[in-house]
Symmetry: C5
Amino acid sequence: MPSRFSIFTKKVGLPPGQAVFTGEQRVPAVRMGWIRYSPGEASSGEVSNPADLPSPDPAAGDILWVNVDGLHDADLVKAVGERFGLHPLAIEDILSVDSRPMAEDYESSIFTSLKMLTVSPEGSIQSEHVSIAFGPGWVLSFQETHGDVFGNVRSRIRNPEARIRSRGADYLWYALLDAIVDHYAVALSRLGARIEGLEDEVWSEEPGRDLPLRAQEARHELLIVRRAVRPLREQLYQMTGDCPPLVTDATQPFLADLEAHLLQHQDVLDHLRDAVTSLLDAHVSVVSMRTNEVMRVLTVMASIFIPMTFVAGVYGMNFQYMPELDIPWAYPVAWLVMLGIAVTMLAYFWRKKWL
Amino acid sequence: MPSRFSIFTKKVGLPPGQAVFTGEQRVPAVRMGWIRYSPGEASSGEVSNPADLPSPDPAAGDILWVNVDGLHDADLVKAVGERFGLHPLAIEDILSVDSRPMAEDYESSIFTSLKMLTVSPEGSIQSEHVSIAFGPGWVLSFQETHGDVFGNVRSRIRNPEARIRSRGADYLWYALLDAIVDHYAVALSRLGARIEGLEDEVWSEEPGRDLPLRAQEARHELLIVRRAVRPLREQLYQMTGDCPPLVTDATQPFLADLEAHLLQHQDVLDHLRDAVTSLLDAHVSVVSMRTNEVMRVLTVMASIFIPMTFVAGVYGMNFQYMPELDIPWAYPVAWLVMLGIAVTMLAYFWRKKWL
Amino acid sequence: MPSRFSIFTKKVGLPPGQAVFTGEQRVPAVRMGWIRYSPGEASSGEVSNPADLPSPDPAAGDILWVNVDGLHDADLVKAVGERFGLHPLAIEDILSVDSRPMAEDYESSIFTSLKMLTVSPEGSIQSEHVSIAFGPGWVLSFQETHGDVFGNVRSRIRNPEARIRSRGADYLWYALLDAIVDHYAVALSRLGARIEGLEDEVWSEEPGRDLPLRAQEARHELLIVRRAVRPLREQLYQMTGDCPPLVTDATQPFLADLEAHLLQHQDVLDHLRDAVTSLLDAHVSVVSMRTNEVMRVLTVMASIFIPMTFVAGVYGMNFQYMPELDIPWAYPVAWLVMLGIAVTMLAYFWRKKWL
Amino acid sequence: MPSRFSIFTKKVGLPPGQAVFTGEQRVPAVRMGWIRYSPGEASSGEVSNPADLPSPDPAAGDILWVNVDGLHDADLVKAVGERFGLHPLAIEDILSVDSRPMAEDYESSIFTSLKMLTVSPEGSIQSEHVSIAFGPGWVLSFQETHGDVFGNVRSRIRNPEARIRSRGADYLWYALLDAIVDHYAVALSRLGARIEGLEDEVWSEEPGRDLPLRAQEARHELLIVRRAVRPLREQLYQMTGDCPPLVTDATQPFLADLEAHLLQHQDVLDHLRDAVTSLLDAHVSVVSMRTNEVMRVLTVMASIFIPMTFVAGVYGMNFQYMPELDIPWAYPVAWLVMLGIAVTMLAYFWRKKWL
Amino acid sequence: MPSRFSIFTKKVGLPPGQAVFTGEQRVPAVRMGWIRYSPGEASSGEVSNPADLPSPDPAAGDILWVNVDGLHDADLVKAVGERFGLHPLAIEDILSVDSRPMAEDYESSIFTSLKMLTVSPEGSIQSEHVSIAFGPGWVLSFQETHGDVFGNVRSRIRNPEARIRSRGADYLWYALLDAIVDHYAVALSRLGARIEGLEDEVWSEEPGRDLPLRAQEARHELLIVRRAVRPLREQLYQMTGDCPPLVTDATQPFLADLEAHLLQHQDVLDHLRDAVTSLLDAHVSVVSMRTNEVMRVLTVMASIFIPMTFVAGVYGMNFQYMPELDIPWAYPVAWLVMLGIAVTMLAYFWRKKWL
């Protein structure tokens, strides 16, 4: 099981800029697919050797999108990266699946790495490292495993009417980022539903004994989402602040829109985080109130019956000379005394509002 | 019931800039009303087709305000927006009822979206997505449902003496924002009263068992208000910092005043939030004190009567050879011993100030 | 009783810039006093009509200070303001007694509104809205009610030797602000003493049952002071950063000094706030320790006497065939057994350090 | 006893810039000592009249350091200050022993006030207001009482080899600041040791009942140190950012070093503050665990013996017709039943891990 | 044992810029090793006198790296530093093992001090003060003791193919920083594992009694790591923001990468800190729930058996005239009454869901 805190130490001691895969192999074999499109036509294919990739013709408006699933073959990733002139540090970042989301302008290309969040069938949130780079006429995307959230982008590319067909590589890059960021909402929505469930449970008659444990788990997953959202927003904000020339004016407002989405996700994250924290406070509060109630029942029962039992105990003593024992009306009087004690205690508790 | 955290996932997977309504239909039919006024005259009407809208004559000082109630007909909203040259992303924001308040200067028009807060008859706070855009001679407002807080603005427009008649579209835009922001005070005032009520209840003799639950609800509603107030202030502040040319100098101080109001609302929000948090702390404190008191009663009762009952129990034993049983003054002595125990315990508790 | 959170909704629905008094009438009649002074002479008077106010001669170094007590007559306030050319928004702020402290440079005049804090005889802190504006040769001050902290300033003006006589209107304006800010120290000092008293009480033998309630009240009053201090400092800082021309160089260092005082008040506020928060934490801690002690007494008493009572109970049974009952030394042995139980339990608790 | 929160109200109502001593007289008489030195020679003396002070000859590299112990004679302090041309507000700050640390560049001189922290024999931290000003060829220092941390600086001045002899007044000024800031480490070290002691005590077998009280005291003293460190750092940082011409280039790196020390003290303060806070949390946690343990013992004892006592009570009843009483083996069976109850309960508690 | 808060007071009272070792001697003798390399060749050696160090020929691309283990011989450290023209304040920082991480550009050289974190065999984190400076053609590193994390760098230097051989002194300096920062991940990983273990233990059946103590220890160690990471990042960020000329363009992206690593470590630190805090909250929550459960058992047992015992006690009284005693069916009826009480109580608790 991976650590809850995702601290990786695989690269400790290696020289910097080293292309080393820091994760675990998650697919049997690397799969490398490409799509080439221009306003007029679109084709796609799959190759196993970077040298077999088609060459786009930027002058003709050709865009080539290469998607690599599986990162364990560091040499292949390196070969693909070098084919398109990626910076060595960018290639290192593609392979460091534990690294922070980042956005860097390398002049000849723009490189972004981010986390793709998916919800497993059991409802827990999975984070996958995805890197997306683009330059004039090409976009590269690298994922740890098969299965992604790009299906919609692919079908839009296949549609000759779609706006994406007539835009440049920067728009495709944006579209891929947007697809990933859109899916953050799914993860947040799941987490939100779980936290709402926990809130309702706190106030229910019988909250589960492991409720704080489940709250803690939700908190951990919130942090996974936060570590995907916050650095990405910061990095995008910083990069777009400098207006990188590779991003065209037509794409700029879309990027601003993307940042607005990330900001909104961050608001929701803050709200959820606040909710989890106050949920645990409320739980302590509820448990305290219940303990108080339990103690009240005990105190009332014990305070009524212990003195009465004492009276009974006194007249159960076997002394020879206990004048009361011989008086005919002593027994009813004893009862009266005992009932008097009970009534006094009840009145006392009634006045204290413990009943 | 909508989620407490307003995370919407309707648009996941759609291409960006898509005009899709993300909320739920809240009115049977879209209603589109218009008011046209100039310093000299004012007229109004209702149309069902954007093409039927009157055309203002900016040169003559004509202002046209079009208000659309109901957003489920995305095509109609799009048609209205395009009629006035709104940016596609602005149209998308009008329809994304879950989006964050924003203010954007699109040069040919200024677009703002914000949350209109109303208090339901049961006292809970409702948030509605409202978008207001303006350009030279026109103002557009879009709401999710009928019923708004603009009644006052409408009657001022009908009044030929009112300042609003002689000002431009930017002033009307401001007046609509101001009407919405003014109503935040109503929501805050209701929340404040509820929280004060909760505070008083904490210290009352018998706080309700669901008090923390109600505090939690108030906290959720505070967050709804905060998510209306804070981003709006930030966005307005950012936009007005750049002095958009569409906002005239005469309107600038009014906008500054609006921001001051939002700042004040934020202060109140911080105060209320602080109050709710410390209210829960105080509640735990009070419950602890009460539990302590309950335990003290139990301890005093048990510590006095259990030893006495033991003494009684001893002389209730049936051993043949218990010399004390035959002594005539043994019974009164037993009573003295028992009373001595009681007095000792009472003195002990008295010294400990537990009585 | 006014709300603890000072949220006012009186102006909701009114057009902006409207001169409407938002508070409650606190004086039977508005009183309007004036003082005119120059280095050489000083005179004062009281008028009921703004038109009767004397006209200062700035060229001759004349300064006119007009002080208005009572704001319920909005027309009169408006008349005074217009007489000196105040901006409509400034007049609105004078009357909005619930508005945030602010400082605005309207070029022809500088307008500041702030909160005057006074300590009521019962020790609670009262906040009053005061507005002070000045222009060349004149200073206006507006208060909600009679009684202020300006007595000292008045007597300095009457003293021909005092520095204030030879300085401009900006210095008088500063002197009035300074008098108010100085009095914040009185409010803070009272609050500090109350909080110290609460701290001492937490550790006393018998803290009052309403201690958390009183801590909560102190917290509310801290927030009243904070809402007077913090925005004022921010607003002054922002305004003086721009070096408004109406403030002469000779007055600048005094303003810096004023800001330093406000900063110091803020430090004290933070300290007090921290003290109140940790006071409540300490209280919970103390109550927990006391409950623990109570429980220990109960547990020790019950654990010693319940087993002994059981032994006594056994030999109180009436079975025909209980061989022990007939043994002569059985009774002393029973006592030994019971004492043995008691000693064992005592030793156990001793080892656990519960005694 | 002074207030824990050091809020002084002595100057309320006085005109600004007034030279009024706001503290308490702490020395019987003001003592005024001077040291004059140049690279070549050094002399010192004590005078009672500012007019008797020697006049340094800056051209000859003469530096005059005047140190005043005792501030209650405001006129004398004023006379000294005016002799060297200090700004009236600086003189006011010298006498306002309750004012915040500050650093101000008055062009002809630089003025700093700060807090000298000393540890009393009983281990509590004392804060003393010290002001240090310098101009070309002179340095003034003002203290509330005798006894300071400058002994080392004095002996360095007496040493003809020391670097300080060949540097300007700005270096001496720095050296005095440095001596004071160095001693902050002593105060922090003492506080650190106390807090460590408290931490160890929390986990000890028998934490003192007044542990939270002592933690609270440590917290108050932390705040005293923080109020000495933080504003000083801010003020120095702000002043040196503007490169005041009186501070020579040779002294600049030393000032940077001083700020680094203050930053480090701040780190330690944050650490200690965090430690005190979590110490109290841990204490509540420990007390809760202990209460839980106490309750477990009580519950085990009561749950075992109360049912057994009931059985004994049943056969202690005196009904005529109780068939069991006459059965010979009934008594051993009763014992078996009672032991069975005990074993059952023990097994139950064993399974629950309460034993 | 060193203080948990690392506050050192050794240098209090010394003149600034003094080369004084503030730590404890940790090696028997200072060891001074050197490595000289150029793209073509590499040699190394060990000397005991700084004068015996080889002189690099920067023109020929020679780089000399001198590493000093052991700082207790302040004169030797000073001699080495002066040999390469280090600033006196830099030499002071090398010896102040308690000082904050820093990065300073002294124009002729760049000086950085940082903390090397190692994990002791028992799993606790050790912090060692390391200083690294470089100028054209040389790099100096100073450590408190033998044993470091530079082994990898050394072997890369010995490899004629390695990139490091053809780069300048700035790259070597970066490589050493990188080696240290890489090892922070090891420390974080260990701490993460410990905190995960604590989290699992909180929810286990029987959390250790010293769990809060161990959480507190983890918290202290987190602060040690934080005090290594945060200031280093700030200082590097500030220094590289000014583009020091000694750092070549080829090394810049590597430094940016280093800062990204530090940022990531900081994220992990925040996550871990959050985890420890919420762990203690969860622990209190769990203990409260368990106490509640214990109390419920006690209350149920006592509430059932105390009333039954009372009934038995009543008929154990020895009054002469107790008519019930003579009725033949009284005994079974008494049983019925007692069982009725038990069933009633059980039903009551069942309804309350306490069973």
